[in-house]
């Protein structure tokens, strides 16, 4: 059982977002980058599968040199191989990124392709299903539980107020939801072992693609803005619970029109 796990490197969720000078990108001065939180569930699931059924877990990322750090961390947790597709991903739209990843995945032996259900930050939730379509694979999105046996997967997909249990043939694309598993931390042994693994690297042109295939292909960011500062409203003392409750109900009725 070989898996590819696509890793997005994103600003730490603690980050206070500032807009860059061009008004279209974030100002990345001083930003700490992390592996996108949902990708951690994807990676953990692939590592567990490898531990049970053998095979390789290849982590794959597209972007500038800094994404090697995310690949290194993923190797330390238990991935066995890593591929970095070098390129400026900042102006690539989701379809452009999907084309790059799909082309890279074709160069790696695999039965399953994992993503997080969304990259935390751009919050598109698009690339996984796009890669599935480009490769002609079935997809199961927002997966909370996965079983793999006899070339077939059974995945639990979270939907509104329910869960679908879906069977699919392999190869397949899975996008991981929080709760799928409990991701492990890298052990010291893992960190040392990861240092011995070379990160393979390819350029976009090595994959037979040109920048024009991926940059601002269909979706262009025209502007990026911060939301208007919200100034706090009234603050009242809740020492008398009954009086506070009456005031909240008045607010709900008269101002929020919610009762």
């Amino acid at each position: 059982m070989n898996s590819v796990v696509c890793i997005a490197q994103v600003p730490d969720t603690e980050t206070r977002i500032k807009i860059g000078g061009d008004g279209r990108h974030i100002d990345d001065t001083g930003i700490k980058y992390i592996v996108s939180p949902y990708d951690e569930y994807a990676l953990e699931e692939a590592i567990r599968l490898k531990e049970k059924q053998g095979g390789d877990v290849t982590v794959l990322a597209f972007g500038p040199d800094r994404v090697q750090q995310a690949l290194r961390e993923s190797l330390a947790r238990g991935a066995t191989k890593a591929l970095h597709v070098k390129g400026e991903s900042a102006d690539a739209d989701s379809l452009g990124i999907a084309k790059v990843l799909a082309a890279a995945i074709k160069t790696i032996p695999h039965d399953l392709v994992f993503f997080g259900k969304q990259g935390v930050g751009t919050d598109n939730s698009l690339v996984g299903p796009m890669v599935a379509e480009i490769l002609g694979y079935p997809q199961v999105n927002v997966v909370t539980h996965l079983e793999v046996a006899d070339g077939k997967i059974t995945a639990h997909r979270e939907i509104e107020g329910a869960e679908e249990i879906i069977e699919a043939s392999t190869p397949a694309v899975i996008t991981a939801q929080k709760g799928m598993n409990e991701p492990r931390y890298a052990s010291l042994k893992g960190i040392m072992a990861a240092k011995k693994i070379a990160i393979d690297s390819k350029s976009v042109s090595d994959l037979g693609l040109a920048d024009s295939d991926i940059v601002n292909q269909r979706v262009t960011v025209v502007s990026l803005e911060l939301p208007p500062e919200k100034s706090g409203g009234r603050k009242i003392d809740g020492a008398d619970p009954a009086a506070a409750a009456k005031e909240i109900v008045r607010y709900m009725k008269e101002e929020a029109k919610a009762l």
């Binding site: 930050g121 997809q139 069977e167 929080k178 262009t220 909240i248």
Partner: protein, 316 residues
């Protein structure tokens, strides 16, 4: 110019997300001098989609949701309608289908948009990024331009139209996936994504069992139960309730936060709520910076008192 909206039927009626998508779709069509059309796999969508302005309803006999068969059916409807803009309500199925279809058509897609306009022959969309810490305005080129709409961002407005013309489109039956079972959540709780009112609990609840206080209030109001990341990570409540950067971004009419301090990731996920009430014993809690009404006090006495007061108000 045609705007085609993917519609979903629940209990014989259009889902809220579909009604909202039709409503903004009609405005886009009007701005461009075009027509609104709907797609559904259930003829029950006819009356509702007409009421929201659809002139045509494309129907595929595709059965229950399946990514591959629905992608093919939508592709057929797009071809038949020559749609320039395709909208999906931001449901699980809409979000599953839109990217798959976009890749098939080599089309651009903007997800989770909260504003849409048609300018100079192009679709412009605004979408929250970094869970609402910033907003990106994007332009989609190529045809069709696809977007998924954020639930609660566009008001559902009927336009008083009559029944649409029904057009059959074919749906293939082969797929590499099969739904073998659908397990409906026993709790029968309202989803935070669709709710008009959310009551959220945070670490101030001290332990998981105390979520009953939050549930009682949510139940009395008719709202959904939300939760901070700390409470989900502590195992007090299921992840489906989590509001914020690694949960869901919500914008209900009313958001009541009790014992939620307001970490940046949480605020990002709910600060676009139209009305915010916060109850917290710490007067310096960051949640008060964005609350319209802040109550400094003990949630263990105030929330139950509020539940009683709401029941009284509702009884009148």
């Amino acid at each position: 110019m045609t705007v085609l909206v993917f519609c979903e039927v629940l209990d014989g009626k259009l889902k809220k997300a579909s009604r909202e998508a039709l409503s903004i779709g009609r405005k886009l069509a009007e701005a461009a001098g075009g027509d609104l059309a709907a797609f559904a796999t259930d003829r029950a969508a006819a009356d509702d989609s007409g009421r929201y302005g659809a002139k045509k309803l494309y129907v595929a006999d595709a059965g229950a949701y399946n990514t591959e068969t629905y992608t093919a059916a939508m592709q057929a409807a797009i071809t038949a309608s020559s749609a320039t803009v395709v909208l999906f309500g931001g449901t699980s199925n809409g979000r599953d289908l839109a990217p798959r279809l976009a890749a098939r058509l080599n089309a651009g897609v903007a997800s989770d948009v909260d504003r849409l306009e048609w300018t100079d022959g192009k679709l412009r969309a605004r979408r929250p990024v970094y869970s609402g810490k910033a907003f990106a305005t994007v332009e989609i080129s190529g045809t069709p331009a696809i977007a998924t709409t954020r639930i609660n961002a566009f008001p559902a407005e009927e336009s008083g139209g009559g029944a649409p013309e029904v057009v059959e489109v074919s749906a293939p039956s082969d797929s590499k996936t099969k739904v073998v079972e659908t397990k409906v959540s026993e709790a029968d709780e309202l989803s935070i994504v669709e709710a008009d009112i959310i009551v959220s609990g945070g670490r101030g609840l001290k332990e998981g069992a105390n979520f009953s206080i939050i549930r009682d209030l949510a139940h009395a109001i008719g709202g959904a139960v939300g939760a901070s990341r700390a409470t989900v990570d502590a195992g007090w409540i299921d992840h489906q309730h989590q509001v914020g950067q690694t949960g869901r971004v919500v914008s209900p009419n009313l958001y009541i936060a009790a014992g939620v301090s307001g970490a940046i990731q949480h605020l990002a996920g709910m600060s676009t709520s139209k009305h915010i009430v916060a109850i917290n014993k710490d007067p310096e809690a960051p949640i008060f910076r964005i609350a319209d009404l802040g109550v400094v006090g003990d949630l263990f006495t105030i929330v139950p008192a509020l539940t009683e007061e709401v029941k009284k108000a509702k009884a009148h």
